[in-house]
């Protein structure tokens, strides 16, 4: 059942991505000021959306784990954060490449870039913490706590940046108070977002299954040693 869902999602994702990329490269015109490179937005923004969505759900899953003690939620939040980090990494790298051309530098210590980097570092710490704790219950408990702290921190950093100077292009999506993109160009962002979320969900499901296998190995080992 699960592998069927995985396959179906994977197929949907592949289809969506092919269709999206065909439209992004072949049908959409270049942007007037930026030329071809503006297309990076179709990777950059959906990745950021995916990453932040996942970090949020991971925080909720961590709360659920602490409330119920079910390892299912621990596996969910670990998988979400790991995949979220991959997409956050894509955001940083694609943004950096775009900035090289448009701003003339690879990196600027600017509000949103800083937020994203801090976010990345915080959650990388989460993965490190998971590796440092051997005992599964303790690992789940401590990492759930860190995930909640990390989320609170990321929200504060984001808020702080309203005050900090910003170089970053303002919100381009119309859902957030008036956008700056032509309608035909903006739609593609949403489609690609859908494709990225599909891809990320497939990864999360694979990662969760691995987490379950790891726990099974653990309990089998304990059984073997208890004889």
């Amino acid at each position: 059942m699960r592998s069927k869902i995985l396959l179906a999602l994977g197929a949907v994702c592949a289809g969506l991505l092919t269709w999206d990329f065909y439209r992004i490269f072949d049908m959409l015109p270049d942007e007037a000021n930026q030329g071809a490179i503006y297309r990076i937005i179709y990777i950059h923004v959906p990745s950021a959306g995916t990453a932040f969505t996942f970090f949020t759900i991971a925080m909720l899953a961590s709360v659920l784990y602490l409330a119920t003690g079910k390892f299912k939620y621990d596996a969910v939040s670990a998988a979400l954060i790991e995949v979220g980090l991959v997409f956050a990494g894509i955001v940083l790298v694609t943004g950096s490449i775009w900035a090289r051309i448009i701003w003339g530098v690879w990196w600027a210590w600017e509000a949103r870039l800083t937020t994203m980097l801090i976010c990345w570092l915080t959650y990388a710490g989460y993965l490190m913490l998971r590796r440092a704790v051997e005992e599964p219950t303790q690992r789940a408990r401590l990492s759930a706590v860190l995930s909640i702290f990390g989320f609170a921190e990321v929200v504060i950093v984001y808020k702080a940046n309203v005050w900090w100077r910003t170089l970053h292009p303002g919100p381009v999506l119309t859902i957030r108070n008036g956008g700056g993109m032509a309608p035909g160009m903006e739609n593609e962002i949403y489609w690609n977002m859908l494709a990225f979320v599909c891809l990320a969900v497939v990864m999360v499901m694979v990662r969760m299954r691995q987490e379950e296998i790891a726990r099974e190995i653990d309990s089998l080992r304990r059984m073997a040693h208890s004889y």
Binding site: F25, D26, D30, Q34, G35, A36, I37, R39, I40, I43, S47, V83, V86, G89, I90, V93, T94, I97, W98, R100, I101, L199, M203, V206, R207, Q210, I213, A214, E216, I217, L220, R221, M223, A224, Y227
Partner: protein, 48 residues
Amino acid sequence: MESRNLEYMFYGFLAAWLIVLAYVLSLAMREGRLRREIDRVRRMVEKK
């Protein structure tokens, strides 16, 4: 599509897909390692 800034657009997409590819590879490697490990542990339990 004109060629202005085309090169760096290509780099951007390439980098994104490389990151995805690297992660998928790491997932696949971990999958293999876990499968081997669970087979080994299962045999160990059955033997006893």
